[in-house]
């Protein structure tokens, strides 16, 4: 049973449903947040209607006094609809401000009606206005959270795609893989690169992996550790790892830092690394004729 303080609001939502949807749309247009370039009238109207329906359901079933908590189960539908609408709008390019204002615009038609209905009882009017304010504000804040989470997911997806593009594992020869590393190698990236490499070794049953670091800018202790760990993991899976592309400067840095490469093979150029690798898988290179 809804408390009396909310009965008015519920009444408005239920009896003037379609009108409110329209007026809300109107406010959204006036505030410039409808984005007709991205959403048709029909789509925006449908979004408003869904939201309003879920809003009404929530008011009917949940506590809206001082115990109001949008995380309650009774508001599950509304949260779901808010999340869906927000994601839809984010994916088409709506900004956070536009999204929040889109939701907040609902206050205008609701206040207008409250004012009309409560002309005689200012105290009740204020109570109800506060109630609506609290509710709609909470919705707007929630859409903001969903918005941010969605943006972060998009960024994460793009980051992963970029990572895959920039660190391809190439099968250079039968059972010989090569991984040309380019740029910086931070912990997160090193982790992903290593996972990708190991999965590929399994898939292609590769016996030798050449990790080429010609394109890696600086090799400090951290980077060296990542490389050695990767080499160790490759060995644990049963393949061999050759690190190639060690420049004189890198060699000096590594010695000065006291980095012990241990049993990992290292070569200064891919050429020698490749020759080694082919030998290991049973091939020899023969010159056919003079160039």
């Amino acid at each position: 049973m809804p408390q009396t303080a909310t009965a008015t609001v519920l009444n408005i939502l239920e009896s003037h449903f379609s009108l409110i949807v329209e007026e809300w749309l109107g406010t959204q247009v006036r505030e410039g947040v409808k984005r007709s370039d991205l959403f048709s009238d029909a789509e925006s109207r449908a979004q408003n209607a869904e939201l309003l329906k879920a809003f009404a359901k929530g008011v009917r079933n949940a506590a809206v006094d001082s115990d109001f908590n949008l995380e309650d189960a009774a508001w599950e539908d509304l949260r779901a609809v808010l999340a869906d609408v927000t994601k839809e709008r984010v994916n088409r390019g709506v900004t956070p401000t536009e999204m929040a204002t889109f939701v907040l615009a609902l206050k205008t038609p609701l206040f207008a009606r409250l004012e009309a209905m409560r002309e005689d009882d200012p105290a009740a009017l204020i109570r109800e206005v506060l109630l609506v304010t609290r509710l709609v504000d909470a919705f707007a804040i929630y859409t903001n959270e969903v918005f941010i989470a969605e943006r972060e997911q998009i960024i994460e997806r793009q980051r992963e795609e970029m990572l895959e593009l920039s660190t391809p594992v190439v099968e250079l020869w039968d059972r010989v893989l090569t991984l040309p590393l380019i740029g910086t190698l931070d912990s997160a990236r090193a982790q992903e690169v290593m996972e990708n490499l190991l999965e590929t070794i399994l898939e292609r049953q590769a016996e030798v992996v050449i990790v080429d670091i010609t394109g890696v800018g600086t090799v400090d202790t951290q980077v060296a550790q990542h490389l050695l760990r990767a080499a160790a993991a490759v060995r644990l899976m049963g393949a061999e790892c050759i690190i190639s592309g060690i420049s004189p400067m890198i060699a000096q840095t590594m010695v000065q830092l006291g980095i012990d490469v241990g049993t990992v093979s290292t070569r200064s150029s891919i050429r020698t690394a490749l020759a080694d690798a082919l030998k290991k898988v049973g091939y020899s290179i023969q010159k056919q004729r003079e160039a």
Partner: protein, 117 residues
């Protein structure tokens, strides 16, 4: 459910497949029984297939390393095959590089290495 491990003798090498739900006790017993069999049957090698293991922690890693050492003293080489990528990454993160243990991509690879002596 017990991690029933199967052991076969192929080309003078012991093939051991370890199951995913193997317990600490079973692993230690395995190490023990393998050591005895290596000596008793003049085995040249042990191939430990851990492809069924989703989780290999430092204890199991240590037992494997010990088995490699023991077998070497008894004139046999131990090869670990089938390590899953996720396991390899995790072991390395735990600092277990198992340097004294030989590894191979598969049973076939291990056997061919054993053949070469």
């Amino acid at each position: 459910m017990s991690g029933v491990t199967s052991i076969h003798l192929v080309e003078n090498a012991l093939l051991v497949s370890i199951q995913d739900d193997v317990t600490d006790t079973e692993i230690v017993d395995l190490q023990d029984s393998l050591s005895h069999r290596i000596a008793a049957e003049s085995v040249r090698g042990v191939v430990l297939d851990i492809s069924a293991l989703e989780i290999v922690d430092t204890f199991v890693g240590r037992v494997i390393a010990q088995l490699a050492g023991i077998s070497r003293l008894l004139d046999a080489e131990t090869y670990v095959v089938g390590m899953r990528p996720a396991v390899a990454v995790t072991l390395v993160e735990l600092g277990m590089y198992l340097p004294e243990t030989r590894t191979a991509l598969s049973l076939t690879h291990a056997l061919s290495q054993l053949r070469r002596g």
